[in-house]
């Protein structure tokens, strides 16, 4: 290895400027780049639902998007906090309880206005078996995008940062998956979408420490 003075001299040549919001920008870019890949996968492999234009005028589509996008924004914030060597406060995350409670409330309302015999159909829809796994799979490109973001950042609590990155990737993957998924019930969303996001968070917690070491 070269000596320390030589190292310092070589590091101090043409030092690039770091913009004030470089951290947020880098995380945003990592997520956006991953989302682009996920969107291509959804359109090319799964296909966009044919009635998307009609669905986008309906309640359930926006209920799903509100849920997944608010989780996506909240967890991206958590990722940004955990990307610093001394993580910032995560106290604001309790706000994420609001979209969850709202969707749960809508779900209870749906159940109340459906005869008991229809409950299982409401809950399981037609795709409960694949929905969580698709969310997990579609989260992978976004997680990779976040790994790229972390390359110039300094997470020190790697398992937690991995879990947060996985959860954020899952939430954004679910957002894009909405373009394909024809399910409409809130109870479906809060169960199977959330399960997919949790799987992504778990995967992130397991592989995060290995992949995010620096």
């Amino acid at each position: 290895m070269m000596n320390t003075q030589q190292l310092i001299a070589s590091l101090s040549k043409n030092v690039p400027r770091v913009a004030p919001h470089a951290l947020a920008r880098r995380i945003g870019f990592g997520i956006a780049a991953g989302c682009l890949v996920t969107a291509v996968l959804v359109t090319a492999v799964l296909g966009v639902r044919l009635d998307l234009r009609v669905a986008m005028q309906g309640f359930s589509f926006w209920m799903k998007w509100t849920y997944s996008i608010s989780l996506g924004v909240g967890t991206a914030y958590a990722v940004a906090q955990l990307a610093r060597p001394i993580p910032g406060s995560l106290r604001g995350l309790w706000l994420l309880a609001i979209p969850m409670l709202v969707v749960a409330g809508v779900g209870i309302h749906e159940l109340a206005s459906t005869p008991r015999g229809g409950w299982l159909a409401l809950w399981f829809g037609r795709s409960w078996m694949i929905c969580p796994w698709l969310v997990l799979t579609l989260a992978a490109p976004i997680f990779v995008g976040l790994l790229w973001s972390f390359r110039k950042l300094a997470p020190t609590r790697l398992r937690l940062a991995g879990a947060a990155a996985g959860l954020a990737a899952g939430a954004w993957a679910a957002t894009i998956y909405c373009l394909h998924c024809p399910e409409t019930s809130a109870i479906f969303v809060i169960t199977w979408y959330s399960l997919g996001m949790l799987l992504a968070a778990g995967a992130g917690a397991v592989i995060g420490p290995r992949l995010m070491r620096w």
Binding site: M1, T4, Q5, L7, I8, A9, L11, S12, K13, N14, V15, P16, R17, V18, P20, A22, L23, R26, A83, R84, P85, I86, G88, S89, R91, K152, L153, A154, T156, R213, W214
Partner: protein
């Protein structure tokens, strides 16, 4: 000579703006700081210490974007240094006790970086008036224990105990936050 938090931060901010000289001055000032930080904590060879210093300088350089300009520089620096040391020990499968960043800042002589990290007033408000006053007098306004005791009309040992318990309560609050 060791540089102050204020000077190091000025150089760091200069480097972030793309100033080569400020960046070089920062890294040159950090090398001895990191050297003594690692030498005091690792029983390993001088070569290990030197490697860690260089790895940390590289981390400081490549991961500058993770520094929040509103916060003290040395707190960020020692959090990076602490992580590098943990990673080093993990690779060597060694274990030594490693303090929190807060304790590191104190033992490396950067207490002033601690206060700015925290919203001091709101933390003090969570304590009893006696503890808050004892901490404010001795740690913020710079009174001696004797002066604080006279000012508050209580005994010196009471001041010391109040400070100790108060700081402990604050520490656990921060960790829990």
């Amino acid at each position: 000579m060791a540089q102050s938090e204020a000077q190091l931060k000025i150089w760091m901010l200069g480097g972030l703006e793309g100033d080569d000289d400020a960046h070089a001055a920062l890294l040159r000032a950090l090398a001895p700081l990191l050297h003594s930080f690692y030498r005091r904590r690792l029983q390993g060879s001088e070569q290990d210490v030197e490697d860690l210093v260089q790895e940390t300088l590289i981390s400081v350089h490549t991961r500058r974007a993770s520094y929040d300009r509103k916060r003290p520089f040395t707190a960020w620096l020692y959090a990076v240094a602490r992580y590098r040391m943990i990673d080093h020990l993990r690779r060597r499968r060694l274990s030594v006790p490693i303090e929190d960043v807060d304790d590191i800042l104190v033992s490396e002589g950067f207490e002033e970086a601690l206060g700015a990290r925290l919203d001091v007033e709101s933390l003090l408000n969570t304590l009893s008036p006696k503890q808050a006053r004892a901490i404010r007098d001795t740690h913020i306004d710079g009174m001696s224990v004797a002066e604080a005791a006279v000012g508050a009309g209580i005994g010196e040992s009471d001041v010391k105990v109040s400070v100790h318990r108060g700081l402990k309560a604050i520490a656990s609050r921060i960790r829990g936050a």
